[in-house]
């Protein structure tokens, strides 16, 4: 049973921000409620005031411009991102990732902003956004600030939001030429939360070597984890199977995954090896084709 709360449904960002400024820690935002309602039912959170953002239609958008890149409003639902022709064309990896995020029902309610702000290290969007070097726009009644997607998660279910702040936009830069990005996760059933997942972005230099690489893992630590040592191993080299296997092994040493009913720590470490190798292979193929 959910504890009693006072409910607000602001229609504008400004209204929402002034409510946040007023109630601060005592208030919680709810967007699609796909995570929030679970947490409230389990009484892990019992906010006095609940601010429902679903009515702020201004934050539901997908905009693309080659120079500025992609802009996604925080209240855009997963399903819209999955189905967006612009995203499918220019950021296919985002659409693919969304296609395996939960069920269609959840994707039709849940928002990309809510997903990121929930701060679940097993979530799918964060590692992909980190691999894509995305930035997040945060707003409060005092003004706006931009943070790197990579800097946003602080700990398990903890993100770099002040009590008076909300996320308004996700900004994804257009990747350099010859870049390929991919994301896959280990699921038992389609749409499962990741047991382990890996997002890899590879940019090839003019000679076909690895000019840049980003590797971000889901459910491999208390936050979405960048496997920097594994990235280093790839950068500046010509990638081959042996190198990818090594990168997987290195990433596996960087991971500190949890144990739960779906897998032990040891198994997850083994799966980091498999998924870094597989996903990097796919990213490489895409970079070559790009």
């Amino acid at each position: 049973m959910i504890a009693a709360f006072e409910y607000f449904a602001p229609k504008t960002v400004r209204e929402a921000l002034s409510l946040l400024a007023k109630y601060k820690e005592e208030a919680k935002i709810i967007a699609g409620g796909q995570s929030m309602l679970v947490v409230m039912k389990q009484r892990l959170l019992t906010p006095e005031y609940l601010i429902d953002l679903k009515g702020i239609t201004d934050l539901d958008y997908i905009k693309y411009d080659e120079g500025k890149g992609l802009r996604i409003g925080a209240l855009t639902i997963h399903r819209a991102i999955e189905k967006s022709p612009v995203i499918q064309k220019h950021f296919g990896v985002l659409s693919e990732m969304e296609g395996n995020l939960a069920t269609i029902q959840t994707r039709n309610w849940g928002t990309i902003g809510g997903n990121i702000c929930h701060g679940d290290p097993a979530g799918d969007p964060a590692p992909v956004l980190i691999a894509l070097k995305a930035k997040l726009k945060l707003a409060s009644s005092a003004g706006e600030r931009i943070v790197e997607a990579e800097e946003f998660s602080k700990d398990y279910l903890e993100v770099a939001l002040e009590p008076n702040e909300m996320l308004t936009e996700i900004q994804v830069p257009t990747p350099p030429a010859h870049t390929g990005t991919a994301y896959e996760k280990l699921m038992v059933m389609k749409g499962d939360m990741s047991i382990i997942g890996a997002a890899v972005s590879i940019t090839l230099d003019s000679k076909g070597g690895c000019g840049d690489a980003r590797i971000a893992l889901s459910n491999a630590a208390s936050v979405p984890l960048r496997a920097k040592k594994a990235e280093k191993l790839l950068i500046g080299k010509t990638i081959n199977n042996g190198l990818l296997t090594k990168a997987g092994e290195v990433a596996s040493t960087e991971a500190t995954p949890p144990a739960d009913v779906h897998g032990s720590i040891e198994y997850r470490r083994e799966m980091v090896k498999v998924f870094v190798k597989r996903v990097a292979q796919l990213a490489l193929e895409r970079a070559k084709a790009a």
């Binding site: 038992v188 059933m189 749409g191 009913v261 779906h262 198994y267 597989r278």
Partner: protein
């Protein structure tokens, strides 16, 4: 089979379900949909401990909460205990002295709404003295282990020792003897509709109970005893049931008793709807079991003897465990010839939620173990899995003959050989040998299995089903049955049988679901018994009504009753069919001109009572079934050899001998959904993970059950054997085929990868380590 066999107007074809329209349009009313005036809502207070003594229960704060109308605790039931049979009555409606599993019901509240009832439950203060518990059979069997029931030494719930022939001698004479231990997990039954109930007392002497029960005459008897009322005053009404699969919806829950008790206390209707969390933490589960099979064979792979040992976790209360353990053993002598057989069964009480029947009840565990082991034996002997099965399988007895097993199980029809041959042909089994089986990291494999199941289960209590056919004066028909359709399609079958016998259309039959005030008493929907027994009752009741009408028709045509018949809604003289009249006219004449006949046909089943008597559980002899279904199945899997993820594919064939498929479509969909998908579930996905009595995955995100994405299709082949003991030749459908999926899938995994997964389910991590171990061994 005689030539006219199977030539029916309605039966033996694809019959549309009579309940389909109401279900897909949302008009079907389930127990949770029922609202009555002045209704209160109930909630259960549950124990956080898996094993604890109850020192005190203080309900005063709950009672003082505005909106609360009544509170009940176990003491209100005056020491009443219930259970499956006389000697096993070990459970109280709400725990009084001790709780024996986590979330066992301790008290209940009725209030004006659900939230108030829940809030009041939270205000009930229960003082517990936590006790050390036992959480696995191996813990339960230790000397000095804590006792779940103080009067049950050694925590033994059920123990059987059977011995047929001479297994020791047979092992000594065998060319090869293998012993393997297999494991089957704790599983949820898988109904989408959690239990729900509305109960009220129309007057101080009468109960009305409307609940999601697959066997409504269980609460009929139990509630009469519990509240000390004559059966005539207990009215059980059955709404549409959102599936069952054995267990909780046959049995009672704390909410069932509490609803009736709180309704008595308040004088108002009380409703309980079980949450998915409560269903997944407290409802009955399939028994976790450790099955050790020792099998001896000749050099040619002919079975000489099997010694089976089954150790089960029965959970906190006995429930139906004596039957489970009987079923694990009894059909081990089917579908293969087995001249020597020994069985040792041990079922232990533990501080886990109780275990009970689930689709494929009992046979599922032992068939999985023995059929996988048969493939291990085949591999050792260099025999083909199909060949070893064909060699050992029981031949179909000639009409009039009976095959008798070493433990006195009697089989009149057995299509297992035909099933095996047809499946092997359909999947092109021979051609598969030597084919390339790996693509990248994916290895493909195919496995084979055969199985059986008892249908028309008969127990040592009331066994007969009964039926009433009421012909209305305009020619429409009410069919009153005590049987309950839990989703398997029995309402359609019963209606179709009545229409077929009367010679009218399916649409003319209006079936009345159970209302114990009007419908005849019935054992229940379990043990694949409904089609066989209720179907026989339907046939007889329809025949009774028909003969009354034929008498009238004979008078009208001036012939003998034997000279007339009814078909396609026309009654006619057999020798000159042009002399006929419409069904409606015949009925009208019967009701008005004779004058004033009331046409009511009655019938009850006898096959389950008369044939060979009843099984003896302690000795292990005799028939639990009236007849037996047979199945063969070939399953293909793809295994990701790097991650251990196993997927089942569409390349799957099940041949099923259900005697005669009364409704081909129902048999096929039951075999697809209820056998293949449920089999995939058991083989690859489902398991409750536990920690000291606590369920670690009590939700449908962490408890994996395949959905459309993970549920490939299977081809279904009907094998028709026309059994003499079932209505129109029918036997059970699809419980047997539920037992062939897990062994065929495990053998397919072996075919793909070379590893044997002896412990279900084949979840990724388990498969991964097995593959890794094998690779490392190969490198050494």
């Amino acid at each position: 089979m005689d030539e006219t066999f199977g030539n029916y107007s309605i039966l033996g074809k694809a019959i549309p379900r009579v309940d389909a329209r109401a279900k897909v349009t949302g008009q079907a009313k389930y127990a949770a949909d029922i609202e009555v005036a002045n209704m209160l809502w109930g909630q259960i207070n549950r124990s956080p401990y898996a094993h604890a003594r109850i020192l005190n229960i203080d309900t005063s704060k709950a009672e003082a909460l505005p909106g609360v109308k009544a509170v009940t605790t176990g003491k209100d039931f005056g020491g009443f205990k219930w259970g499956w049979s006389g000697p096993t009555r070990d459970e109280e409606p709400l725990a009084v002295e001790k709780v024996r599993y986590q979330y066992e019901g301790v008290a209940a509240v009725a209030a004006v709404d659900e939230d108030t009832a829940q809030e009041a439950c939270d205000l009930i203060e229960v003082d517990y003295e936590p006790l050390p518990g036992v959480f696995t059979p191996s813990e339960a069997m230790q000397e000095g282990a804590p006792l779940v029931h103080d009067d049950r030494p050694g925590n033994i719930c059920v123990e059987y020792h059977w011995n047929f022939g001479d297994v020791d001698k047979a092992f000594a004479e065998s060319y090869l003897v293998r012993e393997d231990t297999f494991q089957t997990p704790r599983m949820a039954k898988g109904y989408l509709e959690p239990p729900a109930v509305v109960a009220y007392w129309p007057d101080p002497e009468r109960i009305v109970y409307i609940g999601a029960k697959g066997s409504p005459y269980f609460p009929y008897r139990i509630l009469a005893k519990c509240f000390d009322l004559p059966l005539s005053n207990v009215r059980i009404i059955t709404p549409i049931i959102g599936s069952d699969f054995g267990g909780t919806k046959n049995d009672m829950t704390p909410a069932d008793f509490s609803a009736v008790m709180l309704a008595k206390k308040t004088g108002r209707p009380v409703k309980f709807v079980t949450s998915q969390f409560d269903a997944l933490t407290t409802d009955l589960r399939r028994h976790p079991m450790w099955i050790t099979v020792k099998t001896g064979v000749t050099k040619d792979g002919i079975l000489k003897a099997t010694s089976l040992k089954a150790v089960a976790d029965g959970g906190a209360y006995t429930r139906i465990s004596p039957l489970t353990m009987f079923l694990v053993g009894t059909c081990q002598t089917l579908p293969y010839k087995l001249p020597n057989f020994k069985y040792d069964a041990y079922n232990y009480f533990t501080n886990n939620p109780s275990s009970a029947a689930m689709r494929g009840h009992g046979l599922y565990h032992s068939r999985f173990a023995a059929d996988v082991q048969l493939d291990m034996i085949a591999e050792e002997l260099g025999l083909d899995p199909v060949e070893i099965r064909l060699k050992n399988s029981i031949e179909n007895p000639k009409p009039g003959e009976i095959y008798e097993t070493v433990n006195d199980v009697h089989v009149a029809t057995c299509g297992v050989q035909e099933c095996i041959e047809k499946v092997a042909e359909a999947v092109n089994w021979k051609a598969r040998k030597g084919q390339k089986k790996v693509e990248g990291d994916t290895a493909y494999g195919m496995g084979f299995a055969a199985a059986t199941y008892n249908s028309g289960t008969k127990l040592s209590a009331h066994n007969a089903c009964a039926a009433i056919v009421r012909v209305c004066e305009d020619g429409s028909v009410n069919y009153l049955t005590g049987a309950t359709d839990v989703g398997q399609g029995s309402d359609t079958i019963m209606s179709a049988i009545v229409a077929e016998v009367l010679g009218i259309r399916l649409e003319d039959i209006d079936l009345k679901r159970v209302d114990s005030a009007f419908t005849p008493v019935d054992p229940g929907s379990y043990g694949s018994r409904v089609t066989v027994h209720a179907g026989e009752a339907a046939t007889k009741a329809a025949e009774d009504a028909k003969s009354q009408l034929l008498e009238v028709a004979a008078q009208q045509f001036g012939v003998k009753p034997g000279d007339v018949d009814i078909k396609d809604k026309k009654v006619f003289v057999k020798s000159s069919p042009e002399r006929n009249m419409a069904w409606e006219r015949l009925v009208r004449i019967a009701c008005y001109e004779t004058p004033g006949k009331v046409i009511i046909g009655r019938g009850y089943s006898t096959q389950g009572i008369s044939m060979y008597g009843l099984a003896d559980f302690s000795k292990g002899v005799g028939d639990i079934g009236t007849n037996y279904s047979f199945t063969a199945q070939a399953s293909e899997v793809e295994v990701d050899v790097e991650t251990g993820v196993v997927k089942c594919t569409d390349n799957n064939v099940i041949a099923h001998d259900c005697g005669f498929p009364l409704n081909t479509q129902a048999v096929e969909t039951q075999v697809q959904g209820g056998s293949y998908h449920q089999g995939i579930s058991a083989a690859v996905y489902e398991e409750f993970k536990m920690d000291s009595g606590q369920t670690l995955n009590p939700n449908l995100v962490d408890y994996k059950r395949p959905r459309a994405y993970e549920a490939p299709m299977t081809q279904v082949i009907h094998v028709i054997t026309n059994d003499p003991y079932g209505p129109f030749g029918a036997k059970e459908a699809s419980e047997g085929s539920c037992c062939s999926a897990p062994p065929s899938i495990v053998s397919a995994i072996h075919d793909a990868t070379g590893v044997w997964i002896k412990d279900l389910p084949a979840q990724p991590e388990k498969v991964f380590w097995a593959l890794k171990k094998k690779r490392e061994k190969g490198q050494k």
